[in-house]
């Protein structure tokens, strides 16, 4: 029996050249990126990849040469990562996200969003009622650092001055950045805590609502409630919506962990993770805009009426975006 009788040897001799070519191409792509390939080379890559996959299944069936089998396993795995790892160019990705994925994700998660908004509102109402009747509650709801001097002990003038403020442009930008970073941190926390069945997310939303309600009670007590609402609304409508979105994202994950419906829990959590991440990215974008609105708009726009106008139109624009954009016709 001569060597050439061995079928696995003949098989390897026939195909080894294409395997080596594939190996060279993927090494090149790994070093220099997919742009380094000419159109011809890209076509050859696709063909060699398929040939390697078919070689792999043949080798698994007929060849007992362990080294060849392991080589083909590794080669196909590595080529798969290159061939199927190519992504859309960034502008197209962003356009698709903003135009379709995000509004669709928001519409799909509408129940979670309403629930998150409800919890936030519940916290606000609870704190308001408790605090307006007894100012002692304020310190229970608002941490001293966050209050920054705006406590029941402060005079009405101090509180009023906090609503105005005449800072330079530099301070405004620094303040915006600080807010954006802080609020995004809170939003990310709300999202990531969704892993724990969404319960910490609910608590976080409620807690944020409590703070809001307590502040309102404090200012309303001194007859400054309307001014506060105006002061907050410029960025507040966008920011609160963003926090509601982030909370909803956490709830989407918690829902999938706790109550998987059609698929196995793992697959359900993964799909929920994708949807929730889109909500998160939307929330981050909104927080960025809110930070900008707050830092600049709040100081330059003085009258409460103008502030409210800006805030409410921002909210209206967001609602139009969520509900209207990206709908397929005929839905």
């Amino acid at each position: 029996m001569s060597e050439s009788d061995l079928r696995s040897l003949r098989f390897r001799r026939e195909r080894e050249a294409s395997w080596r070519a594939l190996e060279e191409t993927i090494t090149l792509v790994e070093k220099k990126g997919p742009k380094a390939l000419s159109a011809q080379a890209a076509l050859a890559l696709a063909q060699n990849y398929r040939a390697a996959i078919s070689s792999l299944s043949v080798a698994r069936a007929i060849s007992l040469d362990l080294n060849t089998r392991l080589y083909l396993e590794a080669l196909c795995a590595r080529a798969f990562l290159i061939v199927h790892g190519v992504r859309e160019p960034l502008p197209a990705l962003v356009a698709r996200f903003l135009g379709e994925d995000l509004p669709a994700a928001i519409r799909a998660a509408s129940r979670h969003i309403l629930l998150a908004a409800f919890i936030l509102g519940l916290g606000a109402v609870t704190a308001y009622i408790l605090t307006i009747n007894d100012m002692e509650w304020f310190s229970a709801f608002v941490h001293a650092d966050l209050a920054a001097g705006r406590t029941p002990a402060a005079s009405t003038e101090t509180l009023e001055r906090a609503l105005e403020g005449h800072d330079g442009i530099g301070d405004l930008l620094a303040f915006s950045t600080q807010l954006f970073v802080h609020n995004t941190g809170v939003a990310i926390l709300a999202f990531a805590l969704g892993v724990a069945l969404g319960i910490p997310t609910i608590l976080l939303l409620f807690y944020n609502g409590l703070m809001l309600g307590a502040f309102f009670a404090l200012y309303d007590d001194r007859e400054l409630g309307y001014e506060l609402a105006a002061w907050l609304s410029i960025h507040g409508t966008t920011e609160l919506t963003a926090i509601v979105l982030a909370g909803a994202a956490g709830l989407v994950i918690g829902d999938a962990v706790a109550f998987p419906k059609r698929r196995a829990r793992l697959a359900e959590v993964k799909a929920a993770g994708h949807r929730a991440t889109r909500l998160m990215m939307g929330a981050a974008m909104m927080l960025f805009i809110a930070g900008f609105l707050e830092g600049v708009g709040r100081q330059t726009i003085e009258s409460p009426e103008a502030r409210l106008a800006v805030g409410l139109s921002a909210l209206a624009l967001w609602l139009v975006y969520f509900i209207g954009v990206g709908r397929r016709s005929g839905r």
Binding site: L6, A61, S63
Partner: protein, 296 residues
């Protein structure tokens, strides 16, 4: 899970390997990264991030000091230091895992990468999801513990939370942490294809005999023993001579080889036996009679 168990039982997969189905429908083997390796990669990444953050912070401070007035410098530093912290904490991990290599420098150092468990491409959402979850797994609890201190209910709860999430990779077979669950990913070793010569095609040693074996002799061993023999023949290490001696004596004894095999002939004998045994087993395989090992 049952598909995985069946493959493990049949011996197609090692214990830490998994199949991933490509879009063409081909099952591809990947080896899961070890837990220690992943922890090591994270450690390297954190070192890089902290070092880079400190270095860039100093640079920012220097720029803020020298350029413009005091006010401008303060504002400049304030804005960019916060953005820098943000970028280092999130942007580093997310940006690197979104590249085609799907690995941060720490992972690259240990030759690991992230893959989509379902065989599709690794989406940006998956990368973002798995990295945002690290917030609750590490950053937040650690910062909370440092801030609140480990006394009181809050500290106890945070400590329990941290331990529970850090234990997650130990509680499931795919070694997934919270972020992997949500994003549907595995962290695997980057496959490394290395092709050596086929032992059945190896040229006969000069002046060696031609060996022939009967069917009865070739029916004693199975595929497992064949692959062990292949490993022996490829072995290049120090103990080769002893190994060849032991194996050739064992084989000769088992198949009832009439004469002794001289030292110089051992490799030729084993190579010939390997080629013959392989042809026999491959032929039986094609006929549907797979003999896994000598007891089968």
């Amino acid at each position: 899970m049952s598909v995985l168990n069946a493959a493990l039982r049949r011996g197609e997969l090692e214990k830490d390997e998994r199949y991933l189905t490509s879009p063409e429908g081909a099952p591809l083997r990947f080896q899961l990264a070890g837990r220690g390796e992943r922890a090591g990669a994270l450690l390297i990444d954190l070192c890089i991030v902290i070092a880079a953050f400190v270095a860039l912070l100093l640079l920012l401070g220097y720029v803020a000091d020298t350029v413009g007035g005091v006010d401008f410098g303060f504002v400049f530093f304030s804005i960019f230091s916060q953005l820098l912290f943000f970028a280092m904490r999130w942007g580093y991990f997310i940006a690197f895992e979104m590249t085609p290599r799907a690995a941060t420098p720490g992972k690259r150092a240990l030759k690991l990468r992230v893959v989509n468990r379902d065989g599709g491409p690794l989406t940006p959402e998956a990368v973002i999801a798995r990295n945002l979850t690290r917030e609750v797994e590490i950053f937040f609890p650690v910062i909370a513990l440092l801030g609140i201190g480990s006394d009181g209910w809050a500290g106890l709860f945070t400590a329990i939370w941290l331990c529970a999430l850090l234990a997650l990779p130990f509680c499931n077979r795919d070694r997934m942490r919270g972020g992997d669950f949500i994003a549907g990913t595995w962290v695997v070793h980057t496959p490394k294809p290395v092709l050596a010569t086929d032992q059945a095609a190896a040229p006969r040693p000069l002046g060696g005999r031609v060996y022939s074996f009967t069917s009865a002799q070739l029916d004693l061993y199975g595929e497992y023993e064949l692959q062990v023999l292949e490993g022996v023949l490829r072995d290049e290490t120090q103990g080769r001579t002893e190994l060849l001696r032991d194996v050739s004596e064992a084989v000769a004894r088992k198949i009832g080889w009439p004469s002794d095999i001289r030292v110089a002939e051992r490799e030729g004998f084993l190579t010939a036996f390997y080629a013959a045994q392989r042809e026999r087993l491959e032929a039986r395989r094609r006929a549907g009679q797979i003999r896994a090992d000598k007891t089968g």
